[in-house]
Symmetry: C2
Subunit: 281 residues, 2 copies
């Protein structure tokens, strides 16, 4: 069982208990982040903490992230493994249930580190994944990384139940927004294209990193929408994400993407991402 | 502090603790209901339990409501008060965090009874409330009564911060959907009109009850949309809800509704609702 810091106190994750009056339990009233640890080093931690600051601000949760870096370092030190993922969640705190929270609540902070195999997801990255499209039923602040995730959960459950690896959300204009926990990239005429930032998608940390890799490699890259109606002519597609890393998409709803195997640009980005991790920057 | 049943065990509400791995804490993965107790009798309990069954089914949470009636009766018996509200929540259960839940989880059931003053909300029902319009940012399964409530919370917080009593959601076509925890009714040319049922609004228990009262009183009543652009010509408006009961709206965004005081149809429905409660049916 992973070790956790619960409001600064170290304990096994499965022993952490919280009041059912915590607003995360009653309203999903909490912000969170997931970040990777490779070779005992946190990956893109400052970027994740910066996004966490933004999510807390948007939710008007007044909580300090000051202790978090040291907690993550301690968890990494104490771990008997070298690769893992950190989960960080801060809720608004506990109070008798009313939609408008009383002032002066004490946020609850959870940080834990879970082991992950170094090759986690490797088979999917090598062979690609099959995705099922799903109407984007999430709330219109998907830019806030919050514990209101039922839309993501229901779509992912449906995709899995139907034998797909991931669900891919589309809006009322049949434009792809993102995956249930991943950013979507398409390749159109040799150019990388990804959904523009808005209140409807998460500003992905890996998304930004991919932009940087593409630029350095001379691969044209822009923000724009990919429609469900252009899948047959799409050259390549992939998901990016903290847990998924770079995951080629070889099929959406039964439509083969490109040649039905990871394309050259997806593979190139995947190699560059793996190399960056290996370098530790 | 209210008394609670936690998975069948009786204890003070503020002593109920749950694992932070409960999916309600991490994903808002839970369904809930709130129902009133008047004069030591649960009000419209079967209707609420039926809706709870539906929410659980839509979320694919496999939990039995069989113990709930007896738990509510016990809480009412043990209470040293006569008026209150019951909160019932069932989460999918606890597991290491993944979007797609593992099978075989054990749901966690919380039932508690909180005292409410008999005259709770009376001043607002007599004088009416002021509402602030807000884009409907909630997810597109608002018909499921779930713990994904951040859209409701943020809108209610904004309304309160700006000096309003409640927020009122409108969709992309500027049509009113509902309040943050209430159904919206307008009166247009003497006819009651309320938002049609869809995946975007909660099928209100009080909403249905109001339909019945209106029908019995010979007040014409239909489903239809009220637009934010017709507020100046709207005769009356009110919110209905388990906690709010019948709450006249006298102003939206600074626009006076009707004569700026509770109108005759709103008052009539309010009186009929109060009489029905007094009769216990």
């Amino acid at each position: 069982m992973p070790l956790a810091f619960w409001n600064g106190e170290l304990m096994p994750l499965d022993e952490v208990r919280v009041s059912v009056l915590d607003r995360a339990y009653l309203f999903g009233d909490a912000a969170y982040e997931v970040l990777r640890v490779y070779h005992k080093r946190p990956w893109l931690m400052e970027e994740h903490l910066k996004r966490m600051e933004r999510s807390l601000k948007e939710l008007a949760i007044d909580a300090s992230l000051a202790p978090v870096r040291a907690e993550i370092e301690t968890l990494i030190e104490k771990a008997d493994f070298t690769h893992g993922s950190v989960y960080l969640q801060i809720s608004r705190g506990a109070a008798l249930r009313t939609h408008v929270p009383p002032s002066g609540l004490t946020p609850n902070r959870l940080v834990y580190l879970q082991e992950m195999d170094e090759r986690f997801g490797e088979e999917k990255r090598q062979n690609g994944v099959r995705a099922l499209s799903h109407p984007d039923i999430r709330w219109h602040r998907a830019d806030i990384k919050s514990a209101n995730l039922l839309g993501n959960v229901l779509a992912a459950m449906e995709a899995r139940a139907k034998g797909f690896d991931e669900a891919i959300f589309y809006d009322r204009e049949r434009r792809i927004t993102e995956g249930t926990h991943t950013t979507f990239f398409g390749v159109r005429k040799g150019e990388l294209v990804t959904t523009p930032l808005s209140n409807d998608i998460l500003p992905g940390i890996t998304r930004e990193f991919v932009f940087g890799l593409a630029k350095a490699a001379g691969i044209p890259c822009s923000e724009g929408y990919v429609s469900l109606d252009e899948l047959e002519t799409l050259g390549e597609a992939f998901f990016s994400g903290t847990v998924s890393e770079i995951q080629p998409i070889v099929e959406i709803d039964g439509t083969t993407i490109g040649l039905g195997k990871p394309g050259p640009i997806s593979r190139k980005i995947g190699e560059l991402y793996a190399a960056a991790i290996a370098r530790g920057a």
